[in-house]
Subunit: 321 residues, 6 copies
């Protein structure tokens, strides 16, 4: 299945630095134009949940810019997601930079609209609170989901600043409480760094979330870690969430809450490839903060992860045909 | 009047790079310890009203760091504000990075507390919405005030994103509506840059705000511009607000809404000196955004402006003794 | 005349950091779709004529990004070019980064296509050699033109590296030799910096080019300088070329051949406004080199200059209706 | 043992970017106020021994700033050093940026004062010559000590520039000559990079210093390397010195003498944890050079290492109670 | 063999930051003066083959600057290449930044000149197309060679932009077609990243090039990978080409075509050491792009690789004496 | 008089980025080779007198690099200093980064050597303390000199850190005390910024130093300011010292002690041109600190000032023939 209107512009024909920057040089379509899209790349330019260093609101734009570096074919498989699926840049989601609750509503509504069109969403954050309204929209369609979550942080905290429940440290506590995720089908990989206290770990344990610290990952290795993850989510509908702070700050300095001692890029890439065949209903790559990395290589890492996810998602899509 | 406990550490005794960074190397005091303070330097680490590029929440810290470059004596007068007044770093104001309305309340309350101690506040922002709760606290004590406002933008807009009334583009519209400012005693200097439409200018005209564009400033020159400003505010209680985007981006790249074609540093310094003798009840320097200027020279400019303000404010204080 | 399909997205409705970046948040149209466009904004992502520090090939993208900061209305006139003319982002011109002669051909051909549609081109370079193929296309339609040229350099050199005639130091020597420009109607403003020898000045003198150094500008001032320029070009068809190295490096560090001692932003803006009423058949802003200014404020300056040009060009367009 | 006056400010209550920056958001105390302090965090803002790229004089300030990212509890143990020990920021040590010998005297004297109060010092450099006066003060109290030294360089050179004996390449040669260290109890881990000649290796061998190159580390792995180190120092009084150039420049670009091919952050963290139970009488993290990493992630790495050291030191303290 | 006129300046005598920057602080000689030189370090300041982000034309200068950090002796062997061979900085090769074909001719001619003097060339690029004219010169002397090629990319593409055959993506396709390399003696190590299609892999397979992806490397490890390489080239005359994009972008951000997921510095260093004893007739380190890494640590990595190559090359030279 | 061996390499023949970087692409000569040199460009890579932010030790190297941008002819006069005088890069002066007194001795001795060869020195600092040993060497030959001193700071302080008399804040107090300068023939232009106290102003007044603040300069203008300076030094032997912190930080961020509110580049250039005809016996441009401006445009400003000085000095030289 190759549909020329959905092909990415090649750097062999048009130099990579040329042209208006869309995700992976794909055609841009509004949702209304997107009737025949299989997978939609959507930016969520919002960081209203950020408790410390802001910036991910600028993430989608820098990620689009850097994504010109991505070429159409995976070097190991020789295959292109753009041959397997109709993929488009659906632009950015409506947001509100000065009102958290309004932004959550706008994002959820936008994703309901996308899902109504049977488009599989791959989102570019935005801070991690962005995942919550996306999960809300997905759960309306799919019910409680499993999740493979790559992150330095559990994001399972209850509240900040005296009872404020919606921050980028709380989305998955909310998602579990709201029944969007089946916590026994949630695995978190790469946890590390100093913590406020053990509240998030206790919350995770109580709900049977499988939490894999970087130290446990170091013992298990890539293959076994992912075997644990795959077994856990099995064939349930599964969301993939990749926080760019899961690699070490050396690999991803452009993020708001870096934690020393994370993944190498190779480890991250290899783990994503092990998602092949899972029943993925959506995914995101979040927390790229351009002001903290003007060089853009954090964003390049992020869009490389998005490309790996696209390859897996497009393949799954065909497998399900 | 020299009170050794309020003196700044000298770079001749302790190198400027040494020590915990407080504003201008002054002693830090909590408000409860601040019974004998005349002028308080307060950080407002908040940018919840920012509609575009965030970052001023990090302003006070970078400004404290750069303020180690400030020495105690003004080179023209040979006098030091630290000899004329008891000045201290009162630390940062409580804020809330994820809830605008809660933050406005916290800030106002903190300034009421400061004003109860008869401390003259000189604040380091934060985005420009920070000025609103400060004005609310001041107006409780002083009633409607005049204002000399240096800025590329009027900040007199009504609302953003479909009716949201509290952003860094709206503080002075709110302040006028709430009766905190006497608009006929408000002068805005340095306006420029493309605009959404003429709503803010119309609002200003309707309320008799005196708006001086950079082009008008260019015709008037420093002296006449400030003569206009001084005549306008006369001897009424007056607030001074200095947005670091009033200089040209070449002088202050580290800000969220730079507008090409602004003041030089010399023009800005000379204007501030012309505030001498006004009845100043408070002042702020806002919109320093460290992520957009890691070099820190925007913050250096900002704290140099703060030092000029301090000189004027300390002198006035004595004049009123 | 307001045509909603040509309006720029407002930062009051959609935050400035959101969405795929087009010039000034205008709709993007391919040339084939551009039948009703009055003024076209076109990127020329090419720096094949650069003899020293490369990078302007990345200029259009960073300029599109920064142009999100531009709002729709000019603060002095209260009018918007987007109300006066149908303006669109026509995307980037075809180029060839590794073959100078092929690139010159591709660019010229693309502009012939644009001019066939009666679109007035405002281009974003690219290095200054980009102006040559644009002038070739324009001269086919208009014959020899006048030019107001803002630059630190005359770009009137003959050749480099042993006879190579097409570099960013030679475009206007070629344009004069080829009869694209009427040299007696060409004025260059802002010349300065050390030179190889006096060859370019001699070439200029020989052809009656009016060369105004920064030192002469300093004596004349903005108004008189522009009076000289306006008198020179009169009502002949005129091209405007603005090299971002005409401002001082403090205002525009992101360029390949900075020359110490240039214009301030205010001088540059005021000069552009004095182009009002000239018979402008095309314009460009060139030599923005993003790798030498990751902060983007050079590009912000450049797009601010583009907006001033747009205002003048749109107004002229109406005047000619 | 929890003493509220010694607790770190939590990012759940006060945002991390707020407030005057002290080490790990701990209370600041002058030495005179520090009668009940168990572990003191001290900055040594000095780089007078630097033979090449200066900057570590600015280290403590950037490290304090970045240390706001550290939270109070270790994620693996669930315990906080701030519960186990009374820890405070003791400010910066007196120095002299223009006279090496005077600076050495000032630093030693300051540490004698600290040790008189029975405070366990954890210092933030400064260049590596800072360790010498600290060792002098410690040796007065403890006699010759063992040392676990993480570094790309042995710092065992004799002299530079024709006989100058006090540089950041010579501190441990001096310390051994002066009998501050028992060389047979000194282990150096991570040595690499080109060298002037084999003088330092010969000096080390002659004095039975155990030198572990990065290549030997690669063969041994973390566990065995640290087993060697632990066996060597046994239960003698031991100093820990961590030069931030021991990680690879990718992890710590902000240092004066980077050497390609160093530790990953994970390796470094895991090694520090293996210091648990040693008889540590002092420690330092040195050579963070902010001008060479304005992003601050080198400093973040450094303070993360300090936190790991604090955890070990606080635990030991209790064990010895 | 020690020849004082060929010794590097020591940082123990003259600080590393002092003096005109030559490669590794070696004496500079013109080719005419270079009669007694064994190994020549040559800069190729050219990036005319670059299809995307330019900058390697500035590589040699930044590499010279950073190479002041290299000391004369290898820490593992205790030996110095400067004792084993007469090594000099031969300055930069003539180039032409605006004409690809002319530049190729100039470079080849320069290397023919160098080879006529029996100097073993170690070049600092420049983009990867630089290797082609060097190979042309070498092949004139040595006939078809083997090659050990460290790179993220195969550089075996046919053409770009509609038939342009000379870019930094095509040099080794040309070299094989022209008979400069014996493809069955060519091994490429570190291949990864998305690709246009499988054309390059097919070309490689067809010509029996041994292509080792990063994934295969991960399975083989350093020792086995290099065993494969050594076996392949055996004792034939062999060229070594090291593209600085073979390490991960975290280790080498300053390059034009970074690919996420590459070598660590340790892996790269260890592989180079395994070249000991091969019959090396020339080598290069290419694609350092200073504008994309002003910090210079990419260049530091590159010159460290050059030093490792020098050690191997100087040792081989003696072995052949 | 044109001597081809002393000509600068032209960017028309060899691209500016190519070749080993010497000052203005001139030939490098050791002092022993410099028998026929008229004007020597000498680097002083030393910042041992720096009391705050270090870095000028790296100044000469970055200035050499940026000086490739300078072409051979002055655009106003059409003349080249390289035609008028034999000018060479004499390399860097011996220094000692860790011992102030030893460095002062090394520098003075080196300049005595240079002056013995009748070479007119134009130095590139280094911090401002570098001027002291140069003045010592010059005074041995010429006796007490006049000085035109462009600076934000008087550098007339007595001592720092409890009696340390040799810092970059004290060189001209020492020079006056030692009789190297005739204080009544010293003019300082551009003084500004906060000060410790009035000690330096008092010292200046007491010795009849003519101190022109930036405010006085603003009233006088360029022409009158320089008329004052010229009248003061008359035809006595005169030293020119240009501290790069005399321009505003917007023009020269890369310096250790920036003071807001300084010269524009145009003002600085025009003032230097007014030195024509003075009896200049030496000059320096100091305090360029590369770590605080990796972009290099501060250094570009500095070498542009050096070129203006060269033009004046070479012209004078001829006038005296």
């Amino acid at each position: 299945m190759t549909d020329k209107q959905f092909d990415a512009v090649s750097g062999m024909d048009v130099p990579r630095f040329a042209g208006v920057a869309t995700f992976m040089r794909l055609p841009q379509k509004s949702i209304d134009q997107a009737n025949d899209v299989d997978i939609g790349l959507i930016g969520i330019p919002w960081d209203g949940g950020t408790t410390n260093r802001p910036g991910p609101r600028h993430g989608p734009r820098q990620m689009r810019d850097q994504s010109s570096m991505i070429r159409r074919v995976h070097h190991l498989t020789g295959e292109s997601p753009f041959d397997r699926a109709r993929i488009a840049d659906l632009g950015d989601c409506p947001v509100n930079p000065i009102d958290v609750m309004d932004a959550l509503t706008r994002i959820e509504k936008h994703y309901v609209h996308i899902l109504d069109k049977n488009i599989l969403p791959l989102s570019a954050g935005g801070d991690h609170l962005c995942s919550l309204p996306v999960l809300r929209a997905l759960a309306k369609k799919h019910g409680p989901m499993g999740m493979v979550h790559f992150d330095a942080h559990s994001d399972l905290w209850d509240s900040y600043f005296g009872g404020f429940k919606y921050t980028h440290g709380t989305p998955f506590a909310r998602a579990i409480e709201e029944g969007l995720l089946d916590p026994a089908r949630v695995v978190q990989i790469g946890l590390r760094g100093s913590v406020y206290d053990m509240e998030d770990r206790d919350f995770g344990k109580k709900h049977n979330v499988r939490m894999i610290s970087i130290e446990e990952f170091d013992e298990l290795g890539v293959d076994q870690t992912m075997a644990v993850a795959r077994q856990l989510v099995g064939d349930v509908k599964t969301y993939i969430s990749f926080d760019i702070d899961c690699p070490d700050p050396a690999y991803a300095p452009g993020t708001g809450t870096p934690e020393v001692g994370g993944f190498t890029n190779r480890e991250a890439l290899y783990m994503l490839r092990k998602l092949r065949g899972l029943n993925i209903v959506g995914a995101d790559v979040v927390e790229v903060s351009p002001p903290f990395d003007p060089s853009g290589y954090t964003a390049l890492n992020a869009v490389t992860m998005m490309f790996e996810l696209l390859c897996v998602m497009a393949e799954n899509l065909n497998a399900n045909d």
